[in-house]
């Protein structure tokens, strides 16, 4: 490869001792670390702010008419598996309060039996057990078929709004092909079936554990502390 006039001033003459090589590397490592540290210092507040804003923004479509006054990022519950909710990954629960009274909970869970890998879902439930919305966060379903579950591509997710285990009754929580009350998608039944099932399981979990979910005292920064307390109790 031609690379223009050579001005080869790279140090090649004489072999360096291990000490001098080490010293040069250490100095460069220190400078590079300082560079990263300064950048981190300058960007950290903005990044934290962005994350908070993104969280609020991503939950908003599922929480159309819910009023809450607490800070979402400070009421987060991370449930490691096994947690009884759909999905093999840790489930995340954001709890919404209005004047200290539980208002709604937002679950981030995974539908395991999608067509291509897990489908990450956001399920928002009012305290009464009524769904306020379901959003798809992440999936690998077939473009053009299974990806019609995305809110931006079709209204399919809208049918979950205001649904609950009473409406439709819990034995009709399935797609129409399976005798249920929920529409399927043209050409894709595995994806909708997986989503309906995951939402139903989440509602069942919420019904059984509602008060524990809102009472649990676990915040991101205090997870470790709590673990320690539990150890003491044992």
């Amino acid at each position: 490869m031609s690379d223009g006039p050579k001005d080869d001033t790279r140090k090649t003459e004489g072999s360096p001792t291990a000490w001098s090589s080490g010293a040069v590397l250490a100095v460069v490592a220190a400078i590079c670390t300082a560079l990263v540290a300064v950048t981190h210092r300058l960007t950290a507040p903005r990044i934290a702010e962005n994350e908070k804003a993104h969280l609020e923004q991503s939950l908003r479509p599922a929480l159309a008419n819910v009023f809450y006054d607490n800070d979402l990022s400070e009421s987060t519950l991370v449930l490691p598996p096994p947690h009884g909710l759909p999905g093999n990954e840790a489930a995340i629960v954001y709890r919404l309060f209005s004047e200290k009274q539980p208002a709604a909970a937002v679950f981030v869970v995974s539908a395991r039996d999608g067509y291509a890998g897990p489908i990450r879902l956001l399920v928002a439930v009012e305290y009464s057990g009524k769904l306020t919305g379901v959003q798809v966060l992440e999936h690998n379903e077939t473009p053009g078929l299974g990806d019609m579950i995305e809110a931006s591509r079709s209204d399919w997710l809208k049918q979950f709004e205001n649904a609950s285990l009473e409406e439709p009754p819990r034995d009709r929580w399935a797609i129409r092909r399976d005798g249920g009350a929920f529409d399927q998608l043209t050409g894709a039944s595995i994806t909708p079936r997986a989503v309906v099932r995951a939402v139903k399981e989440t509602l069942l979990y919420f019904e059984a554990n509602r008060d524990e979910v809102f009472a649990a005292r676990q915040e991101p920064g205090t997870e470790q502390e709590q673990g320690r307390e539990q150890q003491h109790e044992q």
């Binding site: 001005d7 001033t9 590079c32």
Partner: protein, 223 residues
């Protein structure tokens, strides 16, 4: 050769004759993976250009202290720190684009075009030519990313310049929508390979044509 023509030659080499993507076929992993839309290509292209320019500058400035025995760990240190910095900057100022590009910002560190320029050029040349080389090679790579991104977005989604707000802020933009439906294959991974192949073929065809025209011209002058 005067400095000006030398600079021009470096620019030409980066943008066309030795384009890292089209000719050297370096950094294909990000090139193929993120170019589903124009804005993704532009974002990653700019980030790569920034890293390449800075790493060239740093390597060139420190080349007198770098023993050839330890030059590779030095390049790795320099490039990795720069990539970490740009990742933080993206997270802070372009969060939407950061989410859209995902892991590929961090993976700039594995773009062999960058270590190749450090080894082949910056470690043997003075600061200014090294910076020019970094800008030229980075721009060449960025333009290719943009071109392939624009092509795949146009064919695959029937739109162009969608979501430019991720880079420039403001309300979500739909871009120029020419059609509601697209040819899906262009967005899927095979589409990336086809698009790159078309780009390489187009470049080679243009080069051959120019060569032939030059040959004809020379022959006419002789005859």
């Amino acid at each position: 050769m005067s400095r000006e023509t030398e600079t021009l030659r470096h620019l030409k080499a980066g943008l066309w004759n030795e384009n890292p993507g089209l000719v050297q076929l370096l950094g294909l992993c990000p090139l193929l993976a993120v170019t589903t839309t124009f804005v993704n290509g532009l974002g990653l292209g700019l980030a790569t250009m920034f890293v390449l320019t800075c790493s060239n500058a740093l390597v060139s400035a420190t080349r007198r202290f770098i023993y050839s025995e330890i030059r590779i760990p030095m390049y790795v240190l320099i490039i990795a720190s720069l990539v970490t910095c740009i990742e933080l900057i993206f997270e802070a100022w372009f969060p939407a684009l950061d989410r859209s590009l995902g892991i590929f910002i961090a993976l700039i560190v594995t773009n062999c075009a960058i270590v190749a320029r450090a080894e082949l050029f910056a470690s043997r040349n003075r600061l200014v030519p090294s910076v020019v080389d970094g800008v030229a090679m980075g721009a060449g790579f960025a333009l290719l990313l943009c071109a392939i991104g624009a092509f795949r977005e146009l064919v695959g989604q029937g739109s162009i310049f969608a979501r430019m707000d991720m880079l420039f802020g403001g309300e979500p933009m739909r871009g120029l929508a020419l059609s509601d439906r697209g040819f899906l294959l262009a967005i899927l991974p095979p589409g990336a390979f086809f698009s790159l192949a078309l780009a390489v073929a187009a470049k080679n065809a243009l080069d051959r044509r120019r060569k032939r025209a030059l040959g004809l011209l020379a022959a006419r002058q002789l005859g």
